[in-house]
Amino acid sequence: MVTLLQLLILLHLLNNFIMKKLRLIFFMLVGSLLLTTNAWTQVWTAGDNVTLQIQDFCLIETNYAPVSLSLITSIAGEAVASTSNSDLFVKISSIVPGGTNREITARISSGSVPTGTSLTLGSAPCTTTNSGGVLGTPVATPIILSAIDQDLVTGIATCYTGTGYNDGYQMTFTWGPDNPATNYGLIESDTYNIIVVFTITAHDGN
């Protein structure tokens, strides 16, 4: 008998429990439907999440103008004259993160300037015809080329120079006797080949 009573109580409790579960399920169902309808309304108002990415980058190139210089004089008694060449243009494209800059530097990577002479390199401001952006400023005094990189143009941000033969930064090489009072006697007749490397540096935010 006891066991029958116990069974009835158990059934009641179980029934209660199932009802509670059903109620819970019912509420969940209603809740989910409400959420679903909310989501439906969102379809009409929300846009796609489009990511626009601008990677920082830089490119450098020259117009491959041949540069050949000769130290000569045709008048007896005179020193060989300084000579210059402005055929070379350097072109760049640059994108930088905000507030950062690049520089164009130059150095001699192969060979060396003949003894008793010095080779300087100066840049003009970038040509304006086909360029745009923050093109930087050439250093005021031409650099004396050596095996160590030196700044030619500073303050370059996001910009482009144009791609034409005479677009970009016009470079002037000037070659002449170096301190002739002490070094002129060191000059030796010969042909010297050197390689100059132009580098556009990583932006200074790196």
């Binding site: 060989v80 007749s189 010969d190 080949n193 580098t199």
Partner: protein, 193 residues
Amino acid sequence: MFVFKKIVLLISLVVLFFSFSTIVPAQNNNKAEMSITLKIPAIALIDFVVDGSQTITYSYSYSTPNQVEQIITPTTSDNTWLNYSSIVIDDLTNYITVHISSGSLPADVSLNVLIGNDVGAGDGIIGTSIGQIILSTFPQNIITNIGSCYTGRGIYKGHQLTYTWENPDSYNYSLNYENGNAIAVTYTITSTE
């Protein structure tokens, strides 16, 4: 088991992130090389400059800039300055010779020239003067061991030349000049090559 799945998912996400990064690389070509040719030709140029107070005829040919000729009279004294420019090849030097290139002197007449030292108006390895010589029709060295240098251009630059005559009265300059037999000396700068 659940934790293991999480880790697999995480690794997959990381790999996917990096693979996207390499698909869109920063495009960089940050160096441009160029070759430059620097030429220093050998140079050997010589010329006179004469103090204007005394007329001395001389010639200079641009086709042979390493030679210059001067007509000498008994009144030619110390008003001539020898200028030169020189660029030499490694281990070589230039030198200057002089000879009587035109006309002839009577047997009892001799003509001397004193080549002064460089006055220091230029730079570099200026040659060494031999001092005084008796001019002849054979070239004689007068300035040697010229390296890469220049004397400067003009009077009071380079080496002063001083001519002296022995027994000049025997030499009738005017007659010889009219006959085209004036005495001329030629200075030549040459490489030891």
